[in-house]
Each structure stands twice: as C-alpha cells, then as structure tokens.
Symmetry: C5
Subunit: 380 residues, 5 copies
C-alpha cells in the first residue's frame, strides 16, 4: 500500500470514533465502589445548573449556582427539572448528589461516561443511563457523529439530568415546555423523564440513516470497481455497528422493566408512552441487525468482486500466452540453423518458394483454432 491509499485509510475511520473507550481515564482497580471519578473529558469551564420549574399554569427557567437555591421549587407543588451540564467538578456535583441523597453507585456511574445504557431502581429514585448519538453534517457533505452519556434521575417530584457538554440536545423539550397545553406541563415528572429519553432515542434513527446511506454508497462502489478502500470502509462500518449496538441494545430491557415492574414513580398513563419508546428501541435494534447482515453481504460482494477480477486478469494472461507461445514456437522452428545443404531433410521449408507464407498460414490457422476454442468457452 502506498502513502496515498494509507491516507485514504485514515479518512475512512468509524463515524463513531469519538465514542472509543479512553483507557487513560480508567480508574485504578480496587477503588472503593461508589468512588466518583470523572472518566470523560472536561468540556465546560464550570458545572452549569438550571432549574426548570413548571406546572399547567407557569414555566420558569432559573440558572442557579448552589443546589440549595432549588429548595423553594422543590417544596412547591409544581414539577421541577434540574438540568446539570459539566461532569468534571466532582466537588460541586457532590453537593447535588448529597442534596438528593443519591446512592454512591449512582454518583459513580454519572461521571463514569462509558456506561452501557441501563435502568436501575432505587428506593427513592429511578436511574436511567442513555447514550446520545447526534449527527452533524460536516463541510464536505460527510456526517460527523457525536456521542455523549446522558444520566436521568427520576424522583417523586423532580427530574435530574446530567451531561458532559452543553450540547443543546434537550432544546425541543424546552420549546415544548413553553406551550401551556402540552402533556409535559400537565403530566408528572415521570412523563418529563420519558420525554427526555424519547428525545434521545429519536436521534438513533438519524444515525441509522447515515449508516444505511454508507452501505448503499459502498454497495455501488463495489459493483463498479472493488478496491482496497472499500474494504476499509466495510471494516469501519462493522466497527460502527458494534459500537451502536452496545449503545442501544441493553436499553431495551431497561425500558421494559419500567413498563412491567410495579413502580410507584411511574403512572399507568406514562406506561403507554414508555411502550411506544420501547417500540422505537426495538425498531432501532431490528434495523441494526439488518444492517449488520447487509455489511456481511458487502464483504461477500467485495470478496467475490476480487475473485471475479482475478479471473479476468488470468483470462487475459492465458489468452495472450496461449495464442502467442505456440506462434513463437513455430517462429523458433524456422529460426533453427540446421544445415539444409547437407541433407534434404534439414528444414527444407526454408527453401520452399512459399515457405514464409506457409509458416504464416500455419500461424493464422493455429490462432484461429485458439480463438475458436476460447469463443466456445465464452472467455470473451
């Protein structure tokens, strides 16, 4: 492989490359379970905390510096969502966690940002981990996919959300909150938690579309001309699908447990919506399985494309060699230096009147025979 194609190899990296495990942030073994250590990267200068307080009659947005400032909103009867962005300042986060008496293991998972998605039930709260997968259209029409761990804690009258960046992932929710007649304003905090999760799952369909498009593009390229480049693209797709599956798969059972189990924090009305969310996740998982099979198919196509080309190359060589080697042999015969003067048996053709035309005729005959043979084998 030359340098040019090597560069190409780097260009076709996984679309989910930002989601790879960063081993340098791995915690040392034997740590106290529940030790909160941020294993991601710092993306914000400081931890941002915003209180969203709302019911059917009002909706207020209050940025706060200290968690104690949320006290009045939690005391009143309206629903309260505290949105926390930035996971690097453990000290500040600890004030939040202690205020809401979150279990140490929940604290640990919130800042360990490569959890698989899951739903955990605690006596006073439900803890949900999801992976946001958000696609941005890049300069050259390529897609850039960003992933981030989102944690949602659902209590009896509040919802907490934790994320590393201030990526405006929840903007559609904020807009819907401003409308007075929405279910968000009417229903309890369980519906808000559902809406946040649903919003994240909605993005998965877009990631699927990017993968689908890539599969179709590579398919066309392979049909046109199978090159090493495509193999690398296939390998990257395979890695993407593996990462994607890890990010979604286990969420299915988590959401199912919210529907099946008899939890005081989840109302029957919201369960109908959770069933819809479950349905979406199953659809995503199904499509991933489907895409996985398509990618296996791409590999098979690539390999047989290679074999086909090899066959063609070999045919060209065989046709040329099979036609010209015998001809060269005949020319070699009449290039021999047997002394035709000492005997009438030594290359008498050399002295025939039509010796040269005779030899050419011999060659034309042989060539014709070969061409007929190849035609019959339909090698042309």
């Amino acid at each position: 492989m030359n340098k040019a194609s090597k560069k190409a190899a780097h260009k076709f990296q996984s679309i989910f490359s930002s989601g790879h495990l960063r081993r340098h942030h791995r915690k040392p073994p034997g740590q106290v379970p529940g030790t909160a250590i941020h294993t991601g990267v710092q993306r914000l200068d400081e931890v941002l905390m915003t209180v969203h307080d709302f019911d059917e009659s009002h909706y207020d947005i209050i940025p706060i510096q200290k968690i104690e400032k949320s006290e009045p909103f939690l005391q009143n009867k309206s629903k309260t969502w505290i949105q926390i962005r930035g996971l690097h300042d453990i000290e500040k986060l600890k004030t939040v966690w202690n205020y809401f008496e979150l279990h140490p293991l929940v604290q640990e998972d919130i800042v360990s940002t490569s959890q698989r998605p899951k739903v955990e039930h605690y006596p006073n709260a439900v803890y949900i981990v999801l992976r946001m997968i958000k696609q941005h259209e890049g300069d050259n029409g390529n897609y850039n996919v960003q992933t981030e761990q989102i944690s949602i804690v659902l209590g009896d009258n509040y919802v907490l959300s934790f994320q590393e960046s201030d990526e405006p992932i929840f903007d559609p929710i904020l807009k819907r909150l401003e409308l007075t007649t929405t279910r968000l304003r009417k229903f309890g905090p369980d519906y808000l938690a559902y809406a946040l999760a649903d919003n994240i799952v909605d993005h998965y369909f877009y990631a699927l579309d990017v993968i689908n498009e890539n599969i179709e593009k590579i398919e066309e390229e392979i049909l046109d001309d199978p090159r090493e480049e495509q193999l690398q693209k296939i390998h990257a797709l395979r890695r993407d699908l593996i990462f994607f599956r890890k990010s979604v798969w286990s969420l299915r059972d988590g959401i199912n447990s919210l529907i099946r189990d008899d939890l005081p924090l989840i109302s029957t009305e919201v369960k109908v919506f959770l069933r819809d969310l479950y349905d979406h996740i199953v659809q995503v998982v199904d499509s991933m399985e489907t895409n996985r099979e398509m990618v296996f198919g791409l590999y098979d196509m690539y390999m047989s494309g290679l074999s086909n080309r090899m066959n063609e190359v070999m045919k060209v060589l065989t046709i040329i060699a099979t036609i010209f080697i015998p001809l060269t042999f005949i020319a070699g015969i009449y290039g021999m230096n047997f002394n035709s003067e000492v005997s009438p048996y030594n290359l008498p053709e050399l002295n025939w009147y039509f010796g040269y035309p005779f030899s050419l005729g011999l060659m034309v005959l042989l060539t014709g025979g070969m061409i007929y043979y190849f035609k019959r084998k339909s090698w042309f």
Copy 2:
C-alpha cells in the same frame, strides 16, 4: 465492469425496492410523542371513507364525506366497518380519530407508514399494524411487488381500516360480505378484523413463491455459468429476504398476544381462527429462514463456481505453457549461432543428415511425455 453490465446491475434490484425507508420524510427529533405526520407519499387526491354496515340480515355500503354520517350505523346493532383510504390529509383523519377517541400514539403510527408489524392493546380498542405485500405480474414475466402499511383498529362494535392507496386489497372480503351465510355476517367485528389480517397474510405466500422461483432460477444459472450478474441477483435476494423478514417477524408475537391474553374484544370462537392465522405466519417465517439458508448456499455455490473456473483457466495456461516452453527452448538451442566450423563440439547436430528430423523427434517425445503426465493427473 463495463456499462452494459452496469445497466444489468440496475435491472436486478430488489423486488421490494418500493418498501425502502424514505429518509426525507423522517420526522425531526424531539417532536411531541403522538404528533401525527404522514411519512409516506400521497397516493390519492382526497381521503376516501366508506361505511360497511352488516349483520345476518343486511349489508350496506355507504360512502361518506364526514365521519359524523357514520353515527346511525354505529348506534344500531349491526356490525360496522369504516374503510379509510388516503393518509395525507391529517386534518380530515383527525376528525375520525377524535370521533373514535383513538390514543395519540395510535394516530401517529397510522400515518407513520414504515412501522414494524405489531399488535397493541388499548382500553377501548386493539390496534393492529400489518404490511401488505402484493405481487403484480409485470410486462416481461417479471414480478413487481407492491408494499403498503395497513392499520386496523378493532373497537367493541366497529372496525376501522387505514391504508395509503385505494389498492383493492380487501376485495375478496367485500365479495364474501355479500353472501348472507358467511361467518363474516354472523360473527362479531373481531372476526372481521381477523379476516382483514388473514387476507393480508395470504399474500405473503405468493411473495415467498416469487423468491423461491428466483432462487431456483439463479441456482440453474450458476450451475450453467457463474457470472457477476448472478452475484448481484444473490445480493438483491438477500436484501429482499431481510426486508420481508422485518415485515412479518414481529407479527407472530402480536397475534400470539391476541390468543393468549384475556381480552374482552376477542371471543373464544375467533381465537381458534387467530390460531390458524398464527400458524400461517409461523409457516411464512419458517420458509423465510429456509430461503435465507438457500441464499447463503447460492453464494457458496457461486464462489466455488468461480474457483472452479479459475482452476480451469489456470490448467489451460499451464498445459499450453508447459508443452510449448520446453519446445521453444529446443528450437532456441538449434537457433544458436555457434560456429560449427571451428570445432566438432559446436552444434554438430546442425550438420547431421537427420538433424532436423532428430530435433522434431525430440520435441514429439517431450510433448508425449507432458501429455502423459497431464493425463495421469487427469487434467484433461
């Protein structure tokens, strides 16, 4: 690949190509759950609504413009089926949905036309999504397969059906309704809902037949001569089976839940028929799995067909080269210009009386030896 075969590639596209996801109609993420947005294509000028009112004594067909016109038919004791065709006019559909108090999530799914098949239970209704797969025989004997999402809502005394086009998929049911002694006229709306679903599943067997025929055709072609064209056909078959599976697979569990669960809307008598429907779906799913394995087998056959041909090509080259290269060498020997005059050791054969015949004899011997060798290796 030249242009001709490229065109061929386009000719062998999936038979289910019309069923691909149309990403341009994808809803933006973060929408209010239950927001009804039509994600398919408009196939009719306006939404058509037809009331079928029937019991053992009568059967009336009444096209209506406003859903309120169905009031008298719903009030009387006879069974009522309202058939709605056209899913693009959300406003008009909303009048129907509100009239029957359908859950917003049901409303959303009716017009999101790439749902996986499913059965959902609501307090006042059962919601069934199916995918119609209907085959038309095209001009040149090829098959053209059309797919469309069909939604069925079963209430206590009514059945609603929703479809995008006015494809006459339910014509056999209409004909059966005209006969007074059929179970359709005698049994409740649950039997009608079953009959509509059964009618759709019946078509799956025909789609299976098309796939089966394609597999057999490709099998024969590969045995005859494995060409790149077949590989593309195999790939298209693979894609078709994946799409087909997605369209049927989850229906199995849905129908099973109707049989197992204790639903007031489904009578025991109809459950026996639902068991038969379940049996049909299992048969379809089994055959799809079987076909999938046959398609894997086709690929293996194709690859070993290629290998076989490569072997043959190489044998031809090897035989020709192995026979003629040594002959050409001998001719080369006697084409050397050593001066036989300065020494009796310099190519004395050139001056022998039978020099030329001797050299030809040498060549014949060598050729004979080679041919014997190849015969023993049974390369001919």
Copy 3:
C-alpha cells in the same frame, strides 16, 4: 459447463424432490378461512374408507362406501379407526368431516398437503399433522424418498387417519392389530393415535441413514478428487436437510404439548409412550443438526481441496516456466547475430572451441540451481 456435466447436475437432485411446494395449487388469497381445497395431486381413483373396529376380543376390517355405515361401530364399546385414503374428492370427504363435526380449519388443513407438522387441540378432538418420509431402494442402488402428509384426528372413541395415496404406510400397525395380546387392542384410541405417529417417526431414522451415507460417500469422493459434481451433491444435501428439518422440527413442540397439557383424551399411561416418541423426535432433530454441520464441513473440504489443486497446478507451471525461461534466454543470447568479425567483443563465445558445450554447461548449472531451490522449498 458442457452438456455431459449438466446432465450430471440433474442426476444429483435432492432426494426429497417430490416434497417441493407446488405453487400452481396455491389457493387464491382472501378465501374464506376453512375453505377445503385440495392442494396436492390426485393419486387414487376414488376415496377409500376402511373401518377398523377392535377391542381385546375382536378385530374387524370393514371397507365402507358411505360414512354412515360406520355408525354401529362407533356406537358399540369397541375402539374404531376409520382409515381414509385419497384427498381429491372434497364432496365425499365433507360427508366424513360433517359426520364427526370437524372444525372447518381442520378440514382445510387435511387437504392442504404442505402443512408443517403440528398438534392442535379442539374441544372434541386432537388434530395431528405429520409428514411421512419413506424410502424405497431404486434400481441402481440409489434411494428414492417419497413424502406425503398424514392427518390424524383423535376423538373420544375413534381415530381418523387421512392420506393422499394408498401407500401401505400403516401395514405394521395392521399386523399388530391382528394379535390379541398387544397394547393396541387393550389400550384406548389415544394409544392407536400414538402408534400411528410413532410408525411415521420410525421412518425418519432411515431417511437419516440415507443422508449419512451420502455424506460419507461425498467425503470420500472429495478426498479422492474434488470435482464440480460434488459441489452439486453438497448443495442437494443442504436442500434435503432443510426440507427434512421443516418436516420434523415443529413436531417436537406439538408432541410435547400432548405430554404437558392436561387433556381428557390422553391417558397417563399413553403419556409415557408419547415421552418416548418425543425422545425419538429429539434424536432425529439432533442428528439433523449434526448432519448440517457435517455438510458445512464438506463444503469447507471441497473449497480447500480446490485451493490445494490450484496450488499444485501453479507449482507445475512455475517450475516449468522458471526452469525453461532462463534457459531459453541463454539460447536466445547465442542466437543473436552480432557480427563477431568486426570486433573481438561481439559474441566471441560463438567461435570458442568449446562454445556449445560451454553454453550447455551454463544451462545445466542453472537448471541444477533451480532444482535445488525448489527442493529446498519442498515443492516436489
């Protein structure tokens, strides 16, 4: 592929070829569920009905023309088996079905002769569908396998059996019925139904033996010399195993339901025998899975056999070409026409006293070197 090998391809068709779905008999979609239409082929001139009436003291065989003739045998206390052969005359069969009040769906399945095996429970009867797979030794030592759908209906005091042909599949049962001391005469109709099914499952082991033998034969042939013919045999085996699996697989769950469920028609004593039948079916299914893996192994052997041969072919070509091309080059050198008279540097070897022996020695040296090289690479 030439015509000869094409014919060969046809000779190695599946042993179960008669079991393929006949699509021309496919029922049109949208039919009334329970519409009995014969989808097989007519194999008898008319429908044959035979009453077998027996208890511990007697055994009578009475051919009847009308089903009403069986009335007295059904009324008395002895057990009654009505054997019906021929499924083409729906009118006549309807008299039987109506007499025993069989559910329309059972009627439909009896004459739809490509059902997957199953066991269905109705209030008044158990309906069992099985596929007979019977092997006949053909003229040339090859096996010919015949398959046919057998339906068994078990009522409280009767057993009905339906089959398309008059193939004497139940002869061993008839012989055992003639003996007074057998369990068949002593036990109830549930034991008879079991015995009929057990008799069919017994034949599966023979079909497995045929497949096993074929696998071993192909294995030896591939070890001897992998030819395209074997690939086709492997493909046929694969198809056979798929068909076989479809014919047996789902029977397992059916028989299991007879053992586990609390059915009034099945006595505890017979359940022990059904457990044995279940055990046999599991053994057949296990062996099929085993055979499937062996067939995958055959394919792998075939492919690496091809690769091995390719390697050998290429080695022959490479050895010949690598030895003779350099020799021909040396001969070419001394065949050049440089004028040795104008300069002592122009091919002085041509005028050496030992010029020709020198050139031959050069060639021998080169050949020796090459042979040493190939020996060291152990290519011989």
Copy 4:
C-alpha cells in the same frame, strides 16, 4: 491425490470411529414400542450378573446365574447393586427386567445402544443412560478411544447397571466399596448411582485432553507447513467433537432434572453431589464449545496458509518471468535477420564494435530496474 496420501487419509480417521451408528442393526419401522432388540454387537459369550451387597458393616460380591438368586440380598436391609454385562441375550435380560418390573420402553432402550444420554423418571425407578468414553494409549503413542452405552436403573433399595462388554469401567468404584468408611457404604443406593455416573463423566476430561493435544499438534503443523493431511485431521476433529457433543450435551438437562425435581428416590444430601456432577458436565460442554471454535480457527489458519503459499509461488513465477521475458525479447531483437547490407537502418547494432557488450548492458540495466521494483514492493 496419490495412493500414499490416500493411505494417510485413512490413518487420520476420527478417534471416536467405533461410536458410529451401525445402520444394519437398525430395527424395522412400525415395531411394537418397547420391543427389546439388541442393536449393538455381541462382546461377551454370555450375560454376566454380579450382586454387590453392602452396608456400613459388610460388602459381599456374589456372581449369580439366575436373577432369583438376588432375592435374599434385596430382602435384607443392606444396599444391593446388580451389575449386568452383555446385552445380546434378550431372553436372559427379560428375566431381570420382569423381576424388577421395568417399563417396556426402558427395556428397549437398554439394548438399543445408540441412545442419546438422558434421565427418565418412572413411578418405581429412575432410568439413566450415559455414554462411556474411555481412552487407551495405543502402541505408537496414539490414543484409541472406546465408547459404550451404560444404563443405570435406580430403585428404592437397589441399583442395576447394564453394559455391553466387561470393560472394567467401574473398577474404581469396586475398590472404594471395599473401604468401610466411605460414603458409598454409608449413603443409600442414590449415592451409588451418582458415583457410577460420576465415574463415567470423569473420563470425559481425558477425552477432552486428547482432543486438546490434537488441536495443538495440528496448529503447530499448519504453522510449519500446511498440507492436505492437516485438512483431513481437522475434518476428523470436527467429526469427533460433533460425536462427543452428542454424547454429553443432553446429559446436562437430565442431571439438572434430578436436582430440581422433588423425587422420593433422591435424598437432599446426594443432590449436593449431583450438583457437583452437573458442574463437571457443564465444564465439559464449555470446553467442547471452546474446542469447536479452536477447530474453526484451525480451518481458517489452514486456508490462509494455503493462500500465503500460493502468493509465494506466484511471486517466484512473476519475478522469474518478469526478469527473463524482457531479456529474451532483447535477445530476440538481435537475433533477427534483417539485412544490414541493404540499409544502414537495418540492425546497425550488429556491426557496432561494442554491439554485444551494449546489448548485455541493456539487459543488465533492465534486470537492475526490475530488481529495484521488486525490492520496493518488498517481494523478496
């Protein structure tokens, strides 16, 4: 393939070859269920019966001719194990079976010696089928594996064991019985039945070791030089693992049912030991799965070894041909006979003073260029 390698093929047969199904002993279909027909081979002259009677205070071994002779030992309070060797004499076995009132289906399975392993519960007994797999070290260091079906019947105060040969499989148990303080003497017959089964399962680990060693040996051979011989060894390993799995797999569920079900014949104390046996079986099954994957890996290594060698062969050919064909062309040019006397344009090089050195220089240059090219492609 020549004869030598064919012989080699026969040498590398499965180590479990003696376990293959013998179809000539297959029972005819339609037999009365429970018909005892010996489907194995006769290995002893007559059926040997030995009574082992023991409790904490005594242990007696009494060979008997008639089963009635065991009466006193069964009547007394001590535990009794009757060891029966030889399965060919159905008449004699029938006296035993009738004495202990074994179910006809148990009788049938005892002498049908290719049962899959299983555990069956009857009102008065538990019936256990196992496959002994015992390894003998052969002359040339190779292993020879013998397999045999062992049946164990556990009654309330007795254990029966049935085997075909007098292979001393139970010798370790006999030795342990001689010690007064062992659990065997203290515990009930359920512990003896467990000990017999455990003794058989112990041998599976040794068979696994043989397979493991074979895998490692073949791995090294393939790394050294992939030859057709190894492919046959891989195929034999695959067959061995399939046979081994069939012999062990279903035992797992059988033993589990003894632990889970509430059986009067199995005491709680013995269940702890059965759990250990279950654990061993799971370990064997796990290792088999592991070995299966290793064997797939061997095949992949073999195939890529072949490809690697092919690549090397092709490189040698290409290097030689690519260097010498152009050289031969140059030699051919200067071997042409254009008449340099009629024109200064006709091969003037032939008459140059340094014509020959010039042509040789041309050749050296070309060769140098080629070698540089191949070096850069790192083909050397």
Copy 5:
C-alpha cells in the same frame, strides 16, 4: 516457513498462556468425590494464614500458624477475614477446612485450580470461585498477564480467601480496611466478600484494554502489509478471548443468583452493590463479544488483503507477459531463416530498406495498444 518466522510465531503466543490446562495434574478417574488434590503448581514454601479482624473501632492483622489461633477473633463480635495463601499443603489446609466444616466438594474445588467461575450455596456458607487476571507491564512494553484461581468462602461471621501465590491482589482492600469510615469496616462480612470479588473483576477491564490495543495494532499492521505473522497474532487473540470468556462468562449467573435468591448471609444493602458488580461483569462480557467480532473482522481483512496482493502480483505478471510475449513473437518472425533468395515471398521484409525500423514500429504500436487496453481496464 523459515526459522526466523518460526521464532516469530513463538513470540506471538497467547497473552494468557499461563492459564492453559495442565493435564499432568489431572486427577485419575473414579476418585472419591470430594478428594482434595492440588492440581496447580506450588508457588510458596509453606501455607500462609493471616487473620484480619476488624469492626468500626479497630483493625488488627495477625499472622497465625495454626487455625485454632483464630478462635478468639471468631468468638468476638468483630468481623474476621482469614486470608490463606498457598494450596499445596493439603494436610494444613484440611485443618482449616475441618475447623470451618466446609463441604468436601468445596475442599476439592479450592485446590482444583482450573474451575470455571461459579457461586455455590451451602447451608452454612456461600462458596465463590473467581479467576484473577492481572496484567504486568513487561520489559519491552509488552504485557504479561498472570491468572490465578481465587476461592472465597462467606460464613455468617467470617470470610475465608484461598489463593495459590502471595500475589498482592488484595492490597487495595487492605489499604481501605485501614480507614475507619469505610463501608468495609461498617458493613458485615458479606460486604467484604463482595469487595474481594469486585477487586478481581476490576482487573478484567485492564485485560480488555490489552486485547483492544492488540486488535488496533494488528488492524494497522494488516492495512499496511498483511504478513503471515499477523495471522498468528489473530489466532493467538482468538485463543485469548476464548480463555477470557471461559474465565468470566459463568460468573454472571453466579452473581445473579446471589442477588435474586433469598439468602440469609447476604443483606439487602449489599445486594445493591452486587447488582453493580453484576453490571460490571455484563459490561466485560459485552466487550468480549464485541472483541470477538472485531477479531473475526481482522481475519476477513487479512484474507482480503492477501487476495488484493495476489491480484497485484498477477497484474504485474500479466502486464509484462502480455506486452513482451507478442513482441518476442515478432522478433521471432524476423529471426526465421527462410531463404529470401529462392522466392520474393520469403521474408522480403528482411531486405527492405526500412525493414528494421518497420519491425520496431510494429512493436511500438503493439505495446501502445496493450498499454491503452490496460489503462482502460485501469490496471495501473
């Protein structure tokens, strides 16, 4: 393969090589179940026993020679952990086992050091087997992985831990015990047992990292240049993953049983932590599955890399041969010795004034045509 690459093969052995089964320590079959025989290697001179006695107010470490010395610590109310290192001295271990009345089967498993991981419930204790997998960074930056079986016995007021070496695996726990405010000091022995297991599972993530890094390294190497060396690395990775999976897989169900079952020895508070441990194990198992698929992908990449290179080699050969063979033929034609003096038809070109330039022109034309052909096929 030459010696150099053979050595290389030995260098790329599995990173888990020390974990291979040592068959020489296999126990003979038929042993009394519960016979304790050490199947590992002796790593310490003598068995070391250390008592860790602690509660919220104190933490003492007391090395003891005789197990009876632990009596006072077991009698008092504080929690007691007895750490035992060295498994070769069965006699000494027996004093411990008897003192705590461990079941003989537990005794056996403690010293049989190739158990699969498991959790077993006994009336007075819970027995947990784990496999420590600990990585050391070697001299040359390579990783060295050490594995060892760890047994943990949890009683009502004590924990026993058994290991073969004095590898300081539990050092982080010892450090945490020194802090007064930790949960370790506050909670019961069940929490200590959990902490020991959690400490071991923590190390698995590091082993995963090593495997991940290897996969990425090999991926880059294959993209750069697929050599036989990589194939051996892939094979070693495959073996490592198989070993790793065996070491972790079954632990999942074991820990799950501790959470689900109602055990008096495990408090509800600790179950929350066990759920976290379970979550970690699932994450490890998921990653292993993911890695397994990546390794399959590596193999596919390697194989198609080989095919790609073969294609390139063949193209070079074909281009050279296809260009020069026809040229050599033309040179051969004009090297023929037909006597142009006896006839104007015999090679008149030889006497043309521009004969030689004409022949060279012919060759240039042919070469140009070939180059155009290859360009159009884009072989350059």
